[in-house]
């Protein structure tokens, strides 16, 4: 009998743990919604405080290197050439619709990722470029993370340089945003880490020799040259790397999960001007 009572008690305790009753008391990142079944964290430190710590730990070397010479600039030039290159059955180039210097695309990348009714999902810049190539130009899709794909994405995004990110999560985008958020907060992998654990709860702490970053500036500078890779890569490559580090099976590029996650992360950077190509550790 007493054993039964203990078991019931344990069950109730577990239920409380999984579905926290007090989730509402956490002041959250400004969207005022909590997908069911996840536990949100209160940001450990403010963005300003994090930036102070970053300067104290790493100094200004990365910033300085970015200003002096970013190897991704060569890729940007390649992207500009690709933009004007005629390809495919329709005999068109990107420039034939969007203007020789991409005038019509100015500021467009700042609104991506966004909901697309045809896809019934979230559309990213990289995906949209490939859809455009396929549907409008009749050209083959570019392989994700290949040099031409990154170059073109880099150029299209660079047309919005300096424009503050303005991603909308209203209307049909809302469920996808919440799915992205759920992924961000859910624990995964052999190490049982969630994105939010490091980048919200413990942001600003050291994880061995690295400073855990605050998620405010995570999505504003991709594709970016990374010192660690010694190469240019996209945000989704970074997702895959993070997933591998917590011993989770990474998803393929532009999978639904990663597109939702990109929407969630870009929304966190709303108001931050786009700055590509980036240069990061």
């Amino acid at each position: 009998m007493s054993r039964l009572i203990t078991r019931t008690l344990i069950l109730v305790a577990c239920a409380c743990w999984v579905f926290p009753l007090g989730a509402g008391r956490y002041a959250l990142a400004g969207d005022g919604s909590t997908p069911p079944g996840i536990k949100e964290y209160k940001p450990n430190i403010s963005t300003q405080e994090y930036e102070k710590r970053y300067k104290a730990v790493y100094g200004k070397f990365t910033e300085q290197m970015a200003q002096e010479g970013n190897p991704a600039d060569f890729m940007l030039d390649d992207g500009k050439d690709l933009f004007g290159k005629v390809e495919g059955a329709a005999g068109k180039s990107c420039a034939s619709c969007h203007g020789a210097n991409g005038e019509k695309l100015k500021g467009v990348a700042a609104t991506y990722p966004k909901y697309d009714p045809e896809l019934k999902g979230i559309d990213t810049v990289a995906l949209q470029i490939n859809r455009c190539r396929k549907e409008q130009m009749g050209a083959p899709e570019l392989k994700y993370e290949s040099d031409p794909q990154l170059a073109l994405e880099l150029y299209v995004k660079s047309l919005s340089n300096g424009v503050p990110i303005n991603v909308s999560i209203a209307g049909p985008a809302k469920p996808f945003y919440e799915a992205g958020k759920a992924f961000y907060y859910k624990r995964y992998g052999q190490f049982n880490f969630s994105c939010a654990l490091c980048h919200v709860k413990y942001a600003g702490h050291m994880i061995r020799a690295n400073l855990l970053s605050n998620n405010r500036h995570h999505a504003d500078h991709w594709p970016s040259y990374r010192l660690k890779w010694g190469a240019t890569g996209s945000l989704q490559r970074r997702f895959r790397g993070c997933n591998k580090n917590v011993r989770q099976k990474p998803e393929p590029f532009q999978s639904e999960t990663y597109r939702n996650l990109e929407l969630y992360l870009t929304y966190q950077a709303n108001g931050v001007p786009i700055e590509v190509p980036g240069f990061r550790m």
Binding site: E68, G69, P71, F74, D78, D147, A231
Partner: protein, 109 residues
């Protein structure tokens, strides 16, 4: 990086005569050490820039002797005393015989 030997030179926009100006040069090059292996286990042969010359007009003003321990996509900053209107020309030579060069005109006011 698909392309090798592309050069970007950056000098200040306005230069006064007699100024000591910084010149920043970035070149795309893999700078392979000859110690790395690719996925099937064979050694990637060494391929790096070992000789850099900088000319200001006709005078050689700086020369660099490099080894494998210079980073990929080498970046350098050096200074020049801008006392004449002449091009700054930078010439890179790698161990496979490649020669890459570019010039930028300096016109001090």
């Amino acid at each position: 990086m698909a392309s090798v030997g592309k050069i970007k030179i950056r000098v200040p926009n306005t230069i006064k005569k007699g100024d000591i100006i910084p010149v920043q040069v970035l070149v795309s090059h893999p700078m392979e050490t000859g110690m790395r292996k690719n996925k099937d286990g064979s050694v990637i042969p060494a391929y790096y820039i070992n000789d850099v010359d900088v000319f200001y007009g006709n005078d050689k003003i700086t020369h660099c002797d490099w080894t494998i321990a210079v980073s990929a996509n080498p970046f350098i900053t050096f200074y020049v005393k801008a006392d004449k209107a002449a091009p700054i020309r930078i010439v890179y030579k790698d161990i496979k015989g490649g020669v890459y060069e570019q010039a930028v005109q300096i016109s001090p006011q």
